[in-house]
């Protein structure tokens, strides 16, 4: 494990530098996120109208939730599913398998390099801009920031695991485009990015509690907005850890199966 460690660091570093080379694309990205946050900001303000609280949220918590959810998304979001599916389709995965490191961890590290790049050059300046433009409330306690950072790291892990699973599907079907698109919609909708889960009807909340998506946005953003405090913070964190462990199992099994049946077309 430890000799590999420096290799992993390099994978992250190289991806980070690669992103840095094409940074122009990301300036417009900051504006796009600001546009989206702005749209939902005004929308939620109008929805609240004269109501003090809705769906267990105050207005201030809601606007903060919107801002922090989108900024967290900049960090955890990646296209690993598409990258893996493409490498399987064009056969370059065969070359990757000959390398002396585990392919899936290699992909995760690349995703992390990308995520760290966006966190530093995108989420942080973005959050400053958003704080200046809109009325939001940042946590004042230092430990809330720390636990939030750990939690969005787990958001990244869980989201990437879901991406690995979707991407690996390309081993079994020739075209997994549809699945990848469904996944994207499911993550945006069921993770609480578009609507916090406490707004869903009771039966839907019951189902979503048993799905991994809430661990991506809803749980960390709830901690950040101060809706979850005290011991409940650790419960939320434990839910994330459990999902990370649970999702590792199908990834391992499918990966073993996939390696056995890999057929590379052409040459």
């Amino acid at each position: 494990m430890f000799p590999m460690f420096s290799a992993y660091i390099d994978m992250i570093r190289i991806r980070f530098l690669m992103m840095l080379a094409y940074r122009v694309n990301y300036y417009s990205g900051i504006i796009i996120y600001a546009i989206n946050i702005g749209a939902y900001y005004f929308l939620w303000k109008a929805i609240f109208g004269s109501n003090e609280t809705l769906g267990e949220f105050t207005v201030l918590q809601m606007t903060t939730y919107v801002a922090v959810s989108w900024m967290a998304r900049a960090f955890y979001f990646n296209n690993l599913d598409r990258e893996i599916a493409n490498e399987i389709k064009d056969g370059s995965v065969a070359v990757q398998l000959t390398k002396p490191y585990p392919y899936l961890i290699f992909k995760m590290m690349q995703g992390l390099g990308e995520g760290l790049f966006r966190l530093l050059l995108f989420s942080v300046p973005g959050m400053v801009i958003v704080t200046l433009l809109f009325q939001i409330e940042l946590p004042t306690q230092f430990d809330v920031w720390v636990i939030f950072m750990v939690m969005i790291f787990f958001s990244f892990l869980i989201n990437s695991q879901i991406n690995l699973l979707t991407g690996m599907f390309a081993f079994f079907v020739e075209n997994n485009e549809g699945l990848m698109r469904f996944k994207r919609i499911a993550v945006d909708l069921f993770s609480g990015l578009i609507i916090p889960i406490s707004f869903f009807p009771g039966w839907a909340q019951g189902i979503l509690e048993w799905l991994p998506f809430q661990a991506i946005t809803y749980l960390p953003a709830s901690v950040f907005t101060g809706r979850v405090v005290g011991d409940a913070i650790y419960n939320a964190f434990i839910v994330q850890v459990i999902w990370f462990v649970v999702l590792s199992v199908p990834i391992y099994v499918i990966w073993k199966m996939a390696r056995r049946r890999l057929v590379v077309q052409g040459g």
């Binding site: 417009s28 005004f42 929308l43 109208g49 549809g178």
Partner: protein, 261 residues
């Protein structure tokens, strides 16, 4: 007639290419629609908790939402210019277009048309019709004609704005990232403009007139005083923005020098 026969030929080619991979085609249509319907889901969930959004009821919101989908579907069907820069400028395919007799913009429209996105328009029409039945706003004989006029106006606004932006590729071939930015702004038009602040409202009315692809024209049928005056401006704004787009485009084409080699 000349263009009609070209259209038929391109349409046949489209059908042949898409029908080769039927399952993919179906999945693409369904997921595109689902993606648009996430906003419908948003409206429905929000109205579980409140009865009015800035003075608009759920059926009024659904009406605007349904209307918004109609011109959007028509626009994406005919003006699919997302990858214009890469495909036509960087790879130099514009050379091929310019050597042919039909007008270059018409060829681009036909080469990239995507009639599948009209499913979105149909869905929008059904949602709007449903909301119309639930609302007590009445129905006048000229409403269908006004609707057609409004939709044409809205489509022309989309066309004008996006043709102008796409024309920028003629002046600078580096990617600017401006198209996705505009695409995100246009979603503001789906909701009543009065909920935004003055700057945004002004922008959506006069600079990037996306209020005219959703809330303004829709409010004509909803008898909303606040924006009904603007509603009738929709076709005018459409013509103005389309003309700007067309002029900028032609200036751009004249500057086009090819990608070399």
């Amino acid at each position: 007639m000349y263009y009609a026969s070209i259209f038929t030929d391109y349409f046949k080619t489209y059908l042949k290419t898409r029908m080769t991979y039927r399952a993919d085609f179906l999945i693409e249509v369904v997921t595109d629609l689902l993606f648009q319907l996430t906003n419908l889901f948003f409206i429905l969930v929000v109205f579980l908790h409140t009865s009015s959004l800035g003075g608009w009821s759920i059926y009024e919101m659904l009406f605007i939402y349904g209307y918004f989908m109609i011109p959007y579907g028509i626009f994406t069907c005919f003006l699919n210019l997302w990858s214009f820069n890469e495909r036509y400028i960087v790879k130099g395919e514009m050379d091929r277009i310019l050597t042919r007799p039909a007008h270059n913009l018409v060829q681009l429209v036909l080469e990239n048309m995507d009639p599948a996105s009209l499913f979105g328009s149909i869905t929008g029409f059904i949602i709007m019709g449903y909301a119309w039945l639930q609302l007590d706003v009445g129905f006048v004989w000229y409403d269908p004609f006004v609707l057609v006029l409004m939709v044409i106006g809205s489509v022309l606004i989309y066309a004008g704005v996006y043709i102008t932006i796409t024309s920028l590729s003629f002046f600078s071939d580096s990617p600017t990232g401006i198209t996705p930015m505009i695409w995100n702004i246009q979603n503001y038009g789906r909701y009543p403009v009065d909920i935004y602040n003055k700057v945004i409202k002004f922008t959506l009315t006069w600079l990037l007139p996306f209020a005219f692809v959703g809330v303004y024209p829709a409010s004509f049928f909803l008898d909303k005083d606040i924006s009904q005056g603007f509603a009738l401006l929709t076709p005018v704004v459409g013509i103005v923005f389309f003309s700007i787009g067309f002029v900028v485009w032609n200036v751009g084409v004249n500057r086009y020098k090819g990608a070399g080699s």
